[in-house]
């Protein structure tokens, strides 16, 4: 499995062309396709599902299920009353930035364990401060808090957090084999304290980040200390994201009682519980209002800035802001489009198609590297050396990027056919244009502004954009980009999936996240908006790989992803 770090526009173009040739110029399964990727006509063989092994596997298993349960199940011939999929052709997808090629079906989150684990790992995570709790222990109870006591507390906590008993007799416990993904680590900007703590518990900022990023992050968090908590996947899957902080706070409270020999019922326990549940808590996402009715740590409340900081590519590829943006794009598109809008909000299975366009076949890659090179060359900018945005700069990069993206589809008919819906194309072009503008200016709102200009140009050039609501959102957008009145505008990093006018249309939320990524990576910063979130996920023990997101999706598609958590196989009859 190879990684490609494109570095240049030419390199990205080469891999885009390779992906198109793999998709349309070579046989995949039995599709017998061998097209020139720049030809405007094609021979349509109408081979149906038989051209594709994955579809045939699905048909076979569908028939077996039907026979076993005596009830209709999956049958590809039920499509269009006997006209199955594949009247065009069933083609494979190359995961962007890798050499992994897979079937489209394997990029649906239901069929892809890695995609599920990405969301599991976000939903089951929270950060909780230690300072307030330590103050309560010291000032109210007169306990001595030392590195040794913290180490002991963390030992207790890593037994308790997965569901081990620590105080009461007669308690049932969770089986460790079911909850082995659950743990707690700590991080701090206090180097002296860090050096005293048991390394098994520490996310060492100096080791996980480049020196300049580490210094920036530590300066932002000061001497404070925080716990990075990941509750068991099986727990948050059984309940919801709101369970994460409750589960955490209960085990944190019990662990303080045990580790610091407190009275289980004394009033000070309430202070510790309040700290864990509220005062010292940082959720990954905010609770949603009643009309959308979701608790915290559900995707609708996840800000674009937090999503940027959850993805870790910036730790290892600081000098390639496009790669950071592309990996973030993949993570955010999958979560916001497939799971949030497709699953929670709509129920549609087809939302996968929007997300997939953003991280396959190196198309966004080609656009983004080209647009970024244009910005850097025109304005003499580079990482950490950005140009303050003006409307003229935004207009220039926005127009250049939009025309480049449109002409890519006009010059490569197979790319146009791959992104068969206008909303896919609009997202691809605006994501690249907006992110490149943000990289050049170091300003995510400037990137958003370029996004909307790109949308206007796209709609006008091709006489079409996405669909009713999609177009509405983008026609309105320019007006709220620079408004700072609280009900109309906000820093892009602080907007999120439930931001007014952003809440309903696929293809946008992941794109906006990518634009936000451009802002902080263009400045060369270590984080987008929250150093605590960035540090919390700077941890190789996490099940999902938040550095190489697309490769991780690819492993899931190839059924090679082996870091799944929350599985029930241990407690169900072996087959």
């Amino acid at each position: 499995m190879a990684h490609y770090n494109f570095d240049t526009e030419a390199n990205a173009k080469k891999h885009f062309i390779t992906a198109m040739e793999v998709k349309y110029g070579k046989e995949w399964g039995n599709n017998k396709q061998a097209d020139d990727i720049q030809q405007t006509t094609a021979k349509y063989l109408r081979l149906g599902t038989e051209q594709n092994p994955r579809k045939m596997e699905m048909a076979k298993i569908g028939a077996e299920i039907m026979k076993k349960r005596g009830l209709q199940a999956y049958d590809p011939l039920l499509h269009l009353a006997g006209i199955p999929l594949g009247q065009r052709q069933l083609t494979p997808y190359t995961l962007g930035g890798t050499d992994i090629v897979c079937d489209g079906d394997d990029l649906h989150y239901v069929n892809n364990a890695a995609m599920q684990q990405e969301w599991d790992d976000i939903r089951r995570t929270c950060v909780v401060g230690l300072d307030l709790a330590h103050e309560t222990l010291e000032k109210r109870l007169g306990k001595e808090v030392t590195p040794e006591s913290i180490n002991y507390y963390l030992e207790v906590l890593n037994h308790a957090m997965p569901g081990g008993a620590i105080v009461q007799e007669h308690m049932v416990e969770t089986h460790p084999a079911m909850v082995d993904d659950c743990y707690v680590k700590v991080f701090t900007g206090d180097d002296a304290l860090k050096d005293e703590l048991d390394p098994q518990f520490v996310i060492d900022i100096d080791k996980m980040f480049r020196p300049d990023h580490a210094a920036q992050i530590k300066a932002s968090m000061g001497k404070s200390s925080f716990q990075a908590v990941h509750i068991p996947t099986v727990v948050s899957r059984t309940a919801d994201g709101g369970q994460t902080s409750r589960w955490m706070a209960m085990q944190v409270g019990m662990s303080f009682i045990s580790a610091y020999h407190m009275c289980a019922g004394e009033a000070a326990v309430a202070d510790l519980a309040f700290t864990a549940k509220h005062a010292g808590l940082i959720e990954m996402s905010e609770m949603l209002p009643a009309r959308r009715a979701r608790g915290p740590n559900e995707p609708g409340g996840l800000s674009f800035g937090h999503m940027c900081d959850i993805v870790q590519t910036s730790r290892k590829f600081r000098d390639d802001p496009c790669k950071i943006a592309l990996e973030t794009c993949a993570a955010a598109m999958m979560l916001y489009d497939q799971i949030w809008l497709g699953g929670y909000m709509s129920g549609g299975v087809g939302f996968t198609m929007y997300a997939t366009a953003a991280y396959t076949n190196n198309t966004v890659d080609d656009n983004l590297y080209a647009d970024t090179e244009y910005g850097w060359d025109t304005y003499g900018t580079s990482i950490g050396n950005v140009k303050a945005p003006t409307l003229d700069i935004i207009k220039d990069i926005g127009t250049w990027g939009a025309l480049y993206g449109l002409e890519l589809y006009e010059n490569y008919p197979t790319a146009l056919e791959d992104h068969f819906g206008g909303s896919q194309r609009a997202t691809v072009i605006s994501t690249a244009t907006g992110a490149a503008c943000a990289i050049t200016t170091g300003n995510s709102n400037a990137g958003l502004s370029a996004w909307y200009l790109s949308m206007y140009l796209h709609k006008e050039a091709h006489g079409r954009l996405g669909f009713f609501g999609y177009d509405l959102q983008d026609q309105c957008g320019a007006t709220n980009v620079f408004s700072y009145q609280s009900d109309e505008g906000l820093l892009a990093e602080m907007r999120g999936a439930n931001y007014p006018n952003y809440a309903m249309n696929v293809g946008h939320q992941g794109g906006y996240t990518t634009v936000c990524t451009g802002g902080y990576t263009g400045r060369g910063d270590g984080f987008a908006i929250n150093p605590l979130v960035k540090t919390c996920f700077a941890d190789d023990l996490m099940n999902f790989d938040f550095v190489e997101v697309r490769e991780c999706f690819g492993k899931g598609a190839l059924r090679e992803y082996d870091r799944c958590a929350g599985e029930r196989a241990f407690v169900i009859p072996a087959k």
């Binding site: 097209d35 030809q39 405007t40 006509t41 094609a42 021979k43 349509y44 269009l80 006209i83 009247q87 065009r88 409307l391 207009k395 926005g398 127009t399 025309l403 449109l406 002409e407 006009e410 010059n411 008919p413 197979t414 146009l416 056919e417 992104h419 068969f420 819906g421 206008g422 909303s423 194309r425 609009a426 502004s449 909307y452 200009l453 206007y456 140009l457 709609k459 006008e460 050039a461 091709h462 006489g463 079409r464 954009l465 996405g466 669909f467 009713f468 177009d471 320019a478 007006t479 709220n480 980009v481 620079f482 408004s483 700072y484 109309e488 505008g489």
Partner: protein
């Protein structure tokens, strides 16, 4: 009701064609009979009466009001017709129409229409006979090439696909195809087989389509080659942006 001509920026043939569609300055190039039109749309049997959802307005004893005095009902509304649809898919390979201009054409030049615009299809919903007037006009004029556009109620896929080897836009359920030198249609909008082959006429040649299209693309009229159109659009963007930025 009289409409003034519509204005649109740009100095290229694409811009001119867009102005023509908006102003209904389109040329009739083929004849589609009412029965054939009805068959292709698939909403009722050719020759049958229009089903209605309410009695004719004249028989309903509606209350008098200023709005009713100002607005003359469309024929379909007056008769109580159902609301039905016509939906088009237009190829991105220089079909004469693009979705937004089908919508503009319908909304500017016809009353009582509800256009919907997407990337791969464009729908007009209206009282049935009013809708048929729009459909017939768009079908018979040079804003439609039967090889590069199609009536598609469902399974609209094809606008962005490469053309078939014979130059016809791909249609998954094969509603219409090239026979001889004309396009025939033998399934209705949603793919239900018809009892007839409707002759939709000759498809445009590549040269004709390039000349008639409202789609900017490299190899014909690239968008970047129409600077007036781009500058106008940039101005729209700039004004909307500045309007939203009002520090007070």
């Amino acid at each position: 009701m009289a409409y003034k001509p519509q204005y649109y920026p740009g100095s290229t043939s694409v811009a001119e064609n867009r102005r023509n569609h908006m102003s209904n300055n389109v040329q009739k190039v083929r004849e589609i009979s009412d029965e054939d039109l009805t068959a292709c749309l698939g909403h009722r049997a050719p020759g049958s009466d229009y089903p209605s959802t309410h009695p004719p307005l004249a028989e309903m004893g509606e209350p008098d009001c200023p709005i009713r005095q100002i607005v003359t009902p469309t024929p379909g509304t007056a008769a109580g017709d159902r609301v039905r649809y016509v939906q088009w898919a237009d190829s991105m390979y220089n079909a004469p129409a693009v979705p937004y201009w089908r919508s503009y054409h319908a909304a500017i030049n016809h009353r009582g229409v509800d256009p919907g615009t997407l990337s791969g299809r464009q729908v007009v919903e209206a009282r049935e006979r009013d809708m048929e007037a729009v459909a017939k006009e768009q079908m018979e004029t040079d804003m439609t090439c039967p090889g590069l556009a199609g009536l598609r109620g469902a399974t609209v896929h094809g606008h962005s696909c490469r053309l078939q080897e014979d130059g016809v836009m791909f249609d998954m359920i094969d509603r219409r195809r090239l026979e001889g030198d004309v396009i025939i249609q033998d399934k209705d909008q949603v793919g239900v087989p018809l009892d007839r082959k409707v002759n939709l006429g000759k498809p445009m040649t590549t040269a004709e389509a390039n000349k008639k299209t409202t789609f900017y693309r490299v190899g014909n009229v690239a968008y970047r080659d129409d600077p007036e159109a781009i500058e106008w659009l940039q101005k729209v963007w700039e004004l909307r942006t500045i309007y939203g930025y009002q520090p007070k």
